[in-house]
Symmetry: C2
Subunit: 260 residues, 2 copies
Amino acid sequence: MAAIPSFASPSPADESNTATPAFSPLYQQIKALILQSLQSGEWKPGEAIPSEMDLATRYRVSQGTVRKAIDELAASNLVVRRQGKGTFVATHAEQHVQFRFLKLVPDSGTPGSEGPAQREIIDCRRARATADVARALALRSGDAVLQARRVLSFAGVPTILEDIWLPAAPFKGLTAERLADYHGPMYALFETEFNMRMLRAEEKIRAESAIDGREQLLKIERGTPLLSVERIAYTYQNVPMELRRGYYRTDTHHYHNSLN
Amino acid sequence: MAAIPSFASPSPADESNTATPAFSPLYQQIKALILQSLQSGEWKPGEAIPSEMDLATRYRVSQGTVRKAIDELAASNLVVRRQGKGTFVATHAEQHVQFRFLKLVPDSGTPGSEGPAQREIIDCRRARATADVARALALRSGDAVLQARRVLSFAGVPTILEDIWLPAAPFKGLTAERLADYHGPMYALFETEFNMRMLRAEEKIRAESAIDGREQLLKIERGTPLLSVERIAYTYQNVPMELRRGYYRTDTHHYHNSLN
DNA sequence: CAGTGGTCTAGACCACACT
DNA sequence: GTGTGGTCTAGACCACTGC
């Protein structure tokens, strides 16, 4: 950095009305710079970023300052540190993070113990955003979206029904066919084909009855209670990039959450 | 510390069979020592712990090492740092952390916008642990437990029904009457009266139908889908100290979760 | 003002992975 | 051995709080 000695962009006009003097530590500025390089694709998912010493030289700060910046990026799962090897851009494509955002686990056994999930696309098409979808994705009503419906099965048992909406613009080139033929982890596809990384998500969870044909797709009785999970996934700058409405069977699985 | 230069308790006999050489950084050892003092009650919830410099002197390490230890304790919400004032033992008794473990929020408005919750104890008595309760609380079947049932209402609407089990031994002196008469946050009572701090919790969430009288207590129709939330709360050393089975209405509220 | 936590530096050394 | 992240130190200075 060298520049900006400890104070960041405090437009003097602002200070009169804001309570906070907008002090920003050096390591936060470095963090922002690294974030920029990540977003721009200078370092791609799975790749190593430059070593701490290299970055310290590049930004003209000490290694400790770079370190603290990377610490925070690692804490939010944007990068992964590996001692002796380097710091790597996090990815959804790796085996052990396949279902980073999926918190449904089998009642007995460990998360992956049922073997791989079977993904079946039921429906996939272009559509126009309804009011609620538009609000969730920060679009306008009627904007083009991609819509998909799929079923995830574990050990042959249909367990999850998902409706997915994506804004069409950032995923230009993604056809319904491409999605329908793809059977790997969806977030990995987004990363490799569209340079779109899902960084965090918010979920709203409710209990609902299985109706509107969902009972048939999950092969359960009409009216069975289902866990309804509405997820909005965000990319850089907290821009919403995916809306997902999931319906989970909870007779053999449960949603697991840890509270600190 | 001074002692134990970078290696902690590696009983040579152990090393033959364990894959990990059991290396423990100094700051982890300091963290463990601070943890001990917290658990022993040397510093009570709400109080300040000694300053970083004081602790550094006490343990004969540098301030930076103490700092890193406290950083981790703060990250797991065991202590709270306040610049210019000190580091304080976290507590459930403060206003803004009243419902630290409750993730049910109203569909519209902010978490606290409905005003204070009304707590009504429906039932409260001593009992013997059934097999499943015993397993959850690491007891034996038949061990003495305290059992309570209560309803939480927001803005006069009954929203949450909770069954709570506590091991009787650690809560010796807690009578059914005391619990029934108490109308504040339960975890605060545990802290002040029994020096029992709930540090983290695990939840298993399912969708279930309102039956077995739960529909009456929540004043909803029989068969309405409810969110079933089984929570086990842990104190120091990951010892389970409370089992709570909650039934949440999700027509006006939802369970909110953030994923990173 | 003194005391607290927060930032930043420079340098030394350790643990780990690859070659 | 070389290079990476991880630990630890000592000292300086900054920002916030309360006396």
